[in-house]
C-alpha cells in the first residue's frame, strides 16, 4: 500500500494510528520513494524548527519578526540613517548632562589652570614670600590693600627677654624721636 505525503507527515508528527504506523514503517523499509519522502519532510521539519517545538524553549518569534521588519524597512526605504533619526530626551536629563559637563570642564580649568603659586614677582619678592593668598577677582589696589588689612598676614613677633632682668613701670609710656632721646641721654 502506498502512503501519500500526508500519511508520512502524520507519522512524523506522531499522529498516525499504531496499526497504520506499523504498516507505514514496513513500507518505508521496502519503498525508497516513501523513505525519500520521509527524509524530505524531516528536513522541512528541522528547518521550520519543529524539533524545538517539542523541546523546552519556544520559537524566537520576536527576533524573526524583527529581522523581517528590518528587511522590509530596508527594501521599502523606510529605514532612516542614525543622524536623521529623531531623538527625544527628557528635559531633566538634558539639564543634568549640561551641568555635569559644565562642572567637569570647570574643575579641569580650576585645577589645571594657572595657579597663584606662580604669581608675578613684585619688586623682588613674590606673593608667596609675604605669605599672602589672594582670591583674585576684580582686584584693584585699594581693594587689595583693604583685603590685606583684614587679614592676619603680617605676623606678630614674640620675644623672650632675659630672665635675670626685673622690670617695673617707670612712668608714662613715651614715643620720642631717637635723635631727641639720644640727646637727652647725653
Amino acid at each position: 500500500m502506498y502512503h501519500n505525503g500526508e500519511d508520512i507527515s502524520a507519522y512524523l508528527d506522531g499522529e498516525l494510528a499504531s496499526e497504520a504506523a506499523a504498516e507505514l514503517e514496513r513500507e518505508l523499509e521496502t519503498d525508497p520513494y516513501a523513505r525519500a519522502e520521509l527524509d524530505r519532510l524531516r528536513t522541512v521539519d528541522q528547518l521550520l524548527g519543529s524539533e524545538s517545538l517539542s523541546g523546552e524553549e519556544g520559537p524566537d518569534f520576536e527576533s524573526s519578526r524583527e529581522r523581517t521588519w528590518m528587511a522590509l524597512e530596508h527594501r521599502l526605504g523606510l529605514r532612516q540613517p542614525l543622524w536623521k533619526r529623531r531623538v527625544t530626551l527628557p528635559y531633566p536629563a538634558v539639564a543634568a548632562a549640561a551641568v555635569a559637563v559644565f562642572v567637569l570642564v570647570g574643575l579641569l580649568l580650576w585645577f589645571g589652570g594657572p595657579q597663584l603659586g606662580n604669581a608675578p614677582s613684585v619688586a623682588g619678592t613674590s606673593v608667596r614670600d609675604v605669605d599672602v593668598h589672594i582670591a583674585a577677582g576684580g582686584t584693584e589696589g585699594e581693594k587689595l590693600l583693604r583685603w590685606l588689612n583684614e587679614q592676619e598676614v603680617v605676623g606678630a613677633a614674640s620675644v623672650e627677654l632675659p630672665d635675670v632682668a626685673q622690670f617695673r613701670i617707670m612712668g608714662e609710656p613715651r614715643l620720642i624721636k631717637a635723635a631727641e632721646f639720644r640727646s637727652r641721654g647725653e
Binding site: S121, T139, A165, Q166
Partner: protein
C-alpha cells in the same frame, strides 16, 4: 522650543562659559599684577630694635627685627620677661611720599618684685609723624623714674626701649618679609 534645540543651546553654553571664565581669569591675573605693582609702592619695612638697658645707658640685651607691612597695618611685637609682658603695635600710615604717621600702641602687664599675685596693667596710645628712615623710640615702661634712679646711681633697674624705623620696602634689601631676628646679650 524642542528638546533638541534646548539640548543644543545648553550644550553650547556649557562649552562657551568655561572659555569665557578662562578669559576672565586672564583679566583677573592682569588686574592682580597691576594691583601688586601698585601695592609694591606702598609696602613699608619696619625695623625694630628692642633693647633692655640698665641704668638708662648700658644696653644689656638687644634684638633686631624686621617686618614688612602696608599703610594701616600694625606690626606687633610681644616681649615676655620673668615678671613682664609687653605687647606693642606699630602702625604706619602714609602721610606723604616721604613721611608716615606712626601710631604706637602699648600694653604692659607687670608683676611686682615681691608680690607676683598682683599684676599692674598699663596701656598707651601714641602717635607721631616721622620721616621715612627716621628712627623713633618707644618706651612702654616710661623712663621718668629711671632718670631719678640714675641720679641716685641706682643701676639695678632695667628698662625696655623699642627703636622703630620705617623705610620704603625694597625687595633686594631683604630676602624675606620677615627677617631672622638677631639678638645679643651684653649682660655678662
Amino acid at each position: 522650543m524642542s528638546a533638541r534645540r534646548v539640548f543644543l543651546v545648553t550644550l553650547t553654553i556649557a562649552f562657551l562659559l568655561p572659555v569665557s571664565l578662562g578669559a576672565q581669569d586672564a583679566e583677573d591675573m592682569e588686574s592682580l599684577d597691576e594691583a601688586l605693582r601698585e601695592l609694591s609702592d606702598k609696602v613699608m619695612r619696619v625695623d625694630i630694635t628692642a633693647r633692655v638697658t640698665s641704668g638708662g645707658e648700658e644696653t644689656v640685651w638687644d634684638m633686631e627685627l624686621t617686618r614688612v607691612t602696608i599703610s594701616g597695618r600694625a606690626v606687633t611685637l610681644r616681649l615676655d620677661g620673668s615678671n613682664i609682658t609687653v605687647v606693642s603695635k606699630f602702625t604706619p600710615y602714609y602721610d606723604s611720599d616721604d613721611s608716615v604717621l606712626l601710631v604706637a600702641q602699648g600694653q604692659t602687664w607687670i608683676t611686682k618684685e615681691n608680690d607676683s599675685s598682683e599684676v599692674d596693667y598699663q596701656t598707651s596710645f601714641k602717635s607721631m609723624p616721622v620721616e621715612l628712615g627716621e628712627s623713633v623710640v618707644f618706651l612702654p615702661l616710661g623712663n621718668d623714674e629711671l632718670k631719678m634712679d640714675v641720679e641716685r646711681e641706682d643701676t639695678g633697674t632695667f628698662n625696655i626701649e623699642l627703636e622703630v624705623t620705617v623705610v620704603p620696602y625694597e625687595g633686594d634689601s631683604s630676602d624675606n618679609s620677615e627677617s631672622d631676628s638677631k639678638s645679643s646679650s651684653n649682660s655678662e
